[in-house]
């Protein structure tokens, strides 16, 4: 295959493109979903194709096809060139790419147990056991458990001379228990909502979750929520658990630091960003204890890889350092706007999509708090756990999150449980109210498998390292 891609790149060179890359992607997905005692999804999906991106006459063109023959590659290359020429009809200035040494390299996700070699029967058996525990109480209307496994091989060749072959393996699992009673519907999930937790890892990642071991607690909490009072409204001190902190980072930091958003090219769908160019290097984003990094090199994160889809090696870099906003996620096209080279965040959702700036592992660095000590120091505060809903404005300032459950903290422990908690805020005010972040003992990289961006819509798998953290004067409970 790589020879066909190299031929296509040579063909692009012969056509006089300023730059071109050819990317072949082969993906195998396995999805399992059990609802109550029925396996309602058991799917194997194989997908392959290639995409050709060209820069010609100062503008971009991209075309793709599922037919991976040499003849089709030339046809698609010509189509991409024609599209680039059409794009140039409206250009205001030529696209200039940041310098990048062409890399020849390989990368493979390390894992202990190949998830595609674990039998379907074994996987189904684990989920069936979970569901049987969840369904033991008749108030549980729906027990829904899932496992997902994805293997992606990408071969990337550019007219600059890059040749990269990488294979990424991803595993994910989780479950949700829905209890119903007297017109009330309440859910609890483990280890996270929205299809659980994910990582670039093998089946060992699933085994470490101990899915079965948490099912009874999850069931009892869902039932307890049916008769729980609504979360009280008002300004409160809150401790947000790790999985929700991951989504808080995702929505209020990860997206607004995407430089393509900042430069306006995502306005039509996802929106722009309040973190405008003038703010880089001096804007106080959060309290001094808040440090957020982008790190695609970390082991096991769902946003970990060897090279991005422009052939730039995976990197670690600062985004917020000691509360000050210091850096964006960049691409070869956008990085020159901040006098930098790309930090390697361009990724595409398959061969048929153009790469966009996407989050990698955007991690809130751990602090020094022990959770027990933090709880003991937070009498009367609310402990909020597991995301239920999310919404944020198109500049990423006004956010609102709904959670599955809240507890009032009494004597250092979880006390009264509340249903339907919400909290809302304005991004920099919120992060400046953070006075404690738990330490590495409570820190975990949470996989987010469903990050949407772009037109046509692309779904990216990203991650966020996070630990429980405390915030003051947060508006809680605005729903009726």
């Amino acid at each position: 295959m790589i020879d066909r891609l190299k031929d296509a790149a040579e063909f692009l060179r012969s056509k006089g493109v300023t730059y071109g890359d050819v990317r072949y992607v082969h993906t195998t997905r396995e999805a399992i979903q059990l609802t109550n005692d029925t396996v309602d999804t058991l799917t194997n999906d194989v997908d392959q194709g290639f995409g050709i991106r060209v820069l010609m006459d100062g503008a971009w063109g991209f075309a793709s096809s599922a037919v991976c023959t040499a003849g089709e590659m030339r046809k698609v290359a010509n189509r991409a060139i024609q599209i680039a020429k059409a794009s140039a009809l409206t250009k205001r200035e030529d696209v200039i790419l940041a310098e990048q040494e062409p890399v020849k390299g390989t990368f493979e996700t390390p894992f202990d147990t190949d998830p595609f070699r674990v039998s379907l029967s074994k996987k189904v058996k684990v989920l069936a056991k979970v569901n049987s525990i969840l369904k033991k109480n008749p108030k549980v209307r729906v027990a829904e458990s899932t496992m997902d496994f994805i293997r992606t091989r990408k071969i990337f060749v550019s007219t600059d001379g890059a040749e990269i072959d990488q294979t990424i393996t991803e595993s994910g699992a989780g479950y949700t228990c829905t209890a119903v009673g007297d017109g009330e519907v309440q859910r609890r999930s483990y280890p996270n909502s929205h299809r659980g937790d994910w990582g670039t890892a093998g089946y060992e990642f699933i085994e470490r979750m101990d899915l079965v071991g948490h099912a009874e607690r999850v069931r009892e909490e869902a039932i307890e929520l049916l008769t729980a009072p609504p979360c009280p409204s008002g300004e409160r001190t809150i401790i947000i658990n790790g999985s929700q902190m991951a989504l808080q980072v995702h929505e209020s930091c990860g997206h607004p630091v995407e430089l393509d958003r900042v430069l306006g090219t995502e306005i039509s769908l996802a929106g722009g960003s309040f973190l405008t160019l003038d703010k880089m290097g001096g804007f106080r984003y959060g309290a001094p204890i808040v440090t957020i990094v982008g790190d695609a090199t970390v082991h096991g994160g769902l946003g970990s890889f060897g090279f991005d889809d422009e052939g730039v090696p995976a990197q670690r870099f600062d985004i917020v350092r000691d509360g000050i906003f210091v850096g964006y996620l960049t691409s070869r096209e956008t990085a020159p706007r901040v006098n930098q080279r790309s930090n390697g965040t361009m990724r595409a959702d398959g061969w048929n999509r153009v790469p966009l700036i996407r989050m990698t592992n955007i991690n809130l660095e751990p602090g020094d708090a022990e959770l027990d000590a933090l709880m003991a120091d937070s009498d009367g505060a609310l402990f909020l756990d597991t995301n239920k809903s999310w919404s944020i404005d198109d500049q990423r300032l006004n956010f609102q999150f709904g959670l599955e459950a809240a507890w009032e903290i009494k004597g250092g422990k979880k006390g009264q449980i509340y249903k339907n908690p919400l909290y809302t805020g304005i991004t920099p005010q919120f992060w400046n109210s953070c006075d404690a972040i738990c330490n590495r003992n409570h820190w975990h990289i949470w996989g987010v498998p469903n990050c949407g961006k772009g037109e046509p819509m692309q779904t990216s798998r990203v991650a966020h390292g996070a630990a429980p953290a405390r915030f003051h004067n947060v508006t809680v409970g605005v729903s009726q």
Partner: protein, 450 residues
Amino acid sequence: MIGRDKIISRLKETLELNLGDQSEAVFLGSESHLTRYANSTIHQNVSETQTKVYFRVVTDQKIGVAATNSLSKTDLRKAYKMAAKIAKVQKPNPDFVSLPGPSDYAQLDTYHEKTARFTPRQRAAKVRTIINRAAKKDCMVAGSLSTGCGEIAVVNSKGVAAYHPLSSAAINLIAMKENSSGYAEGLARNIDEIDFSKIATTAITKAVKCKDPEELTAGDYEVILEPAAVGSIFEWVNYIGFGSKAFQENTSFMSGRIGEQVTGENLTIYDDGTDTSAIAFPFDFEGVPKRRVDLLTHGVARGVVYDSMSAHRDDTQSTGHSLTPDATGEGGIALNLFIAPGQSNLKEMISNVENGLLVTRFHYINGFINTPQAVLTGMTRDGLMRIKNGRLRGGVKNLRFTDSMLRAFGTIKAISAERELINAWWDSLGCIAAPAMHLGSFKFTGQTSF
């Protein structure tokens, strides 16, 4: 486009291996092209040719699904065999009765050659015209223009051999000034039915009128929701309420309430995949003909949409609303929503508001907060305007709403006679035909700074 005969014969040929009690092959093919523009220049321009074939094999009610995007005989057979292999390790699904048999389908005009063959240069020319018009009002523009075509086919061992082609064109447009923006969109099977000039005028005019927006405190306001705002709300209301899964799991506001008044008497919603005044398609992914389903009639819950397995659970028939075989766990989903029109118009609605807001559209709505009450939250975007004494009075900084849609749509004062086709996440398979609405009460719960 591959064509009916080639697709059907290739699928039939594969199913001749006869690997289960019953087998099904679903083909989706598309040629899609999208020109994206921002800062008044085209910055992304893409083209894609994709196919996908799903195989579903059922043996003793045990169901296996596998998919491939290759049309080679070898790969198709491999995927079909994989589906059969998966079925063997499955547990029986008691809701499976049978794959459907052959049916007659509505003859719908859903394919237009000009739209299918629209070139990158033609799309760029349309965008350039919009850019030039916006420049005359000192506006920058952003958005996308997509065109394309596709084919969907369903073949099964019970004799179904359904095929239908489609084309579609869509544009969304944001016009921007220094501190304001305006929005408009268009959608059609035939690109000639999109009025690009009107869309540009609407977005640009709105951006100009909304400049220097005033700040308002959150609270309960009388509102006029334009069609894009109505459509985005019902995209979520549909997802959490009108499908069989949510209904059967008791998480829907419709659960246990069929025949009851759930919202205002002047709200009627139905789904009809055969109505070519919107984005029609004649059958679902099981090859069942789509039929009209009344969801809410004068605010009374009437029914939800089903695929074959969820229909069996409720001892009824499929309404022609199945998704692809890999998503059968989701039950039926309505993809062709119509909100019944009223007799008013936007101008008349505005004239009847003493102190209120006009919402052009919403951003980032989420409906998982409290689904039995259909509580949604989201932000206004691209044209929130103040109405005072029956007249538009300029822009307002954006607000967050959090409200029960059952409550809010219980306060409808007027609905427009004219509807617009609003694009939804399910893209070229359908849309939401939405009018403008005048609501007496809509709860805004937060503010932002722009």
